[in-house]
């Protein structure tokens, strides 16, 4: 035992007594507990495990040695395929969350055909891999029992349906409510925030408004023996459960974002420089990314990616790309474009680099902060620095420090003050940014980085830099 590296339990894996996820020597494993042995056996013998993996609904796993189990009572240890980057539902756009919801219902349908059922419907059980959502919780399935209602119903409505409905009918930014409510958006809140007209949509009227009312009613007389008896006496025929699930699916499928633009979504089409400038910028970015790839770079973070023009260049240069943007409409457009092109190397992500997702949940460790999850070899920061330095008043030295924290390599664009895009930011405010000059930029960034290459962008006054993080240990 002592010659083995210690096992570290994943901090987010504590709720379910059927097993848990841990790491040993950097490798991810999952322990299956004895209490779950019969359902685990049924998961295999029903053929569901195989079918889900074959269809790409569930992440694949390989059996591992029982000796690896860190805690007593294990009946199996598996080694699931790792996901390149773990993202959370509050970092997804509407269609990403919608596809995750439909994947969950698809998994339930496949389980139902084999005498099994989902035990939970947590949005955190879904991750994006190769551009598609995939379930990562291999222990989410148990044997179905005659007459049982669908136990994850409430969780599905709180994790998926409520935020989707709010985004579709109220505001696309409301997916961020999931950041405050780790267990999903409270249905009474969703019901209150949704426009009155949604009471006439049968799906939302039933699964959100009536559902919220029923919860409120039963909470009022919670603890009464009558309530407990009534809840436990609920039975449902297989046919009715199927009908319910079908109705949920139709309700989710019926949700759409209103086709309105936001400030950013059209940004890529209205750059301030010429076609020659664009071509020049693309060629330089490509060359710089290829140079870093030549040094072994595999993962790129495109920060301020908008709808992904340069993420595509990074992907073509061989990178797995996280394309982060602050604007949900840009992330949504990017995701839909990638989905229809079948491009799986890029993950669009809703993130504000000036205020990255915090760590949330139990002991502030259940869901890691964005900065804890960054695993990039290179950060691509194009047309970003002026937004941070001027739009958000962040001193250039602090911008450089954050970039250095994110990755060892940086491709960054300098945009001078006289550029129309910077002037736009200064239009209604006093220019208190005396340090915003290319000299100030160099001083600030060269504290954290050394410049490996720089190249002016044709006809624009802008400059692209390729930088390497200084070894601070020296």
């Amino acid at each position: 035992m002592s010659d083995r590296p210690a096992a570290e339990r994943e901090p987010g894996s504590y709720r379910d007594p059927s097993g848990f996820v841990f790491r040993r020597d950097g490798t991810l494993y999952r322990q299956v507990n004895a209490v779950f042995a019969d359902d685990w056996a049924a998961f295999e013998s029903s053929g569901l495990h195989r079918a889900l993996v074959d269809e790409g609904v569930l992440v694949a796993d390989a059996p591992a040695s029982l000796d690896l189990a860190p805690e007593p009572g294990a009946v199996a240890v598996i080694q699931p395929d790792e996901i390149g980057f773990i993202s959370y539902p509050y970092e997804w756009s509407f269609s990403q969350l919608k596809d995750a919801a439909l994947l969950t219902l698809r998994a339930q349908a496949m389980a139902g055909e084999r005498g099994m059922t989902l035990r939970d419907a947590s949005a955190y059980n879904v991750q994006f891999r190769g551009g598609r959502p995939v379930l990562i919780d291999t222990l989410s399935f148990e044997r179905a029992h005659e007459g049982e209602p669908w136990k994850p119903y409430r969780q599905f409505c709180e994790h998926f349906l409520a935020p989707l409905a709010l985004m579709a009918h109220r505001d696309g930014r409301l997916g961020l409510l999931l950041r405050t409510w780790i267990d999903g958006v409270p249905l009474d809140l969703a019901s209150d925030l949704l426009p009155r007209r949604t009471r006439f949509s049968p799906g939302l009227a039933a699964h959100l408004h009536l559902h919220a009312r029923a919860q409120r009613q039963h909470a009022a007389d919670a603890g009464s023996a009558a309530t407990a008896t009534q809840a436990k006496a609920v039975t449902m025929s297989d046919g009715r459960r199927l009908a319910l699930l079908d109705h949920l699916r139709r309700t989710v499928e019926g949700l759409h974002l209103p086709a309105r633009g936001t400030q950013w979504a059209d940004y890529a089409d209205q750059t301030s420089y010429s076609a020659a400038g664009t071509a020049s910028k693309e060629a330089i970015v490509q060359r710089m990314l290829e140079a870093i790839a030549g040094d072994g770079g595999r993962r790129a973070w495109d920060v301020g990616a908008n709808t992904g023009r340069y993420s595509a260049i990074a992907a073509a240069a061989g990178y797995e790309v996280v394309a982060a943007d602050i604007d949900w409409a840009a992330v949504e457009r990017h995701y839909l474009a990638l989905r229809s092109a079948g491009e799986g190397r890029i993950l669009p992500l809703l993130a504000d680099i000036a205020e990255p997702s915090p760590a949330i949940g139990w002991a502030n460790a259940e869901r890691a902060s964005l900065l804890e999850r960054v695993n990039a070899d290179v950060v691509v920061a194009l047309a970003l620095v002026h937004h941070l330095a001027i739009g958000r008043n962040v001193p250039l030295a602090m911008v450089a420090q954050l970039m250095a924290r994110l990755a060892p390599n940086l491709v960054v664009e300098w945009i001078p003050k006289q550029d129309p895009m910077v002037q736009r930011l200064l239009a209604a405010r006093e220019d208190v940014f005396g340090d915003y000059s290319v000299e100030g930029f160099r001083v600030a960034f060269e504290r954290s980085f050394e410049v490996a290459e720089e190249a002016p962008i044709t006809e624009s006054g802008r400059i692209l830099f390729r930088m390497r993080r200084r070894n601070l240990g020296q």
């Binding site: 409430r154 699964h207 009536l210 449902m236 109705h247 086709a259």
Partner: protein, 68 residues
């Protein structure tokens, strides 16, 4: 009902209301299925079998009507 191994709280109100909703939506559900299987049976006669199965459950291919 066997709630023994439900590690999540299904919620008393959620259980009760889902039974009621399921009862309501099962009526059109079965009606639709009956129509679909009848159409399927009629369609199968003139050679065409492929178009009879309608499934929009593939999550990736789903939601073709999303705004672009």
């Amino acid at each position: 009902m066997r709630l023994l191994f439900a590690y999540i709280d299904p919620g008393a109100g959620s259980l009760v209301i889902q039974a009621i909703i399921a009862a309501l939506v099962s009526i059109p559900f079965f009606f639709r299925n009956a129509i679909r299987s009848t159409i399927g049976r009629l369609r199968r006669k003139p050679t065409d079998g492929a178009s009879a199965s309608v499934s929009s459950e593939d999550p990736g291919a789903a939601a073709p009507t999303d705004p672009e």
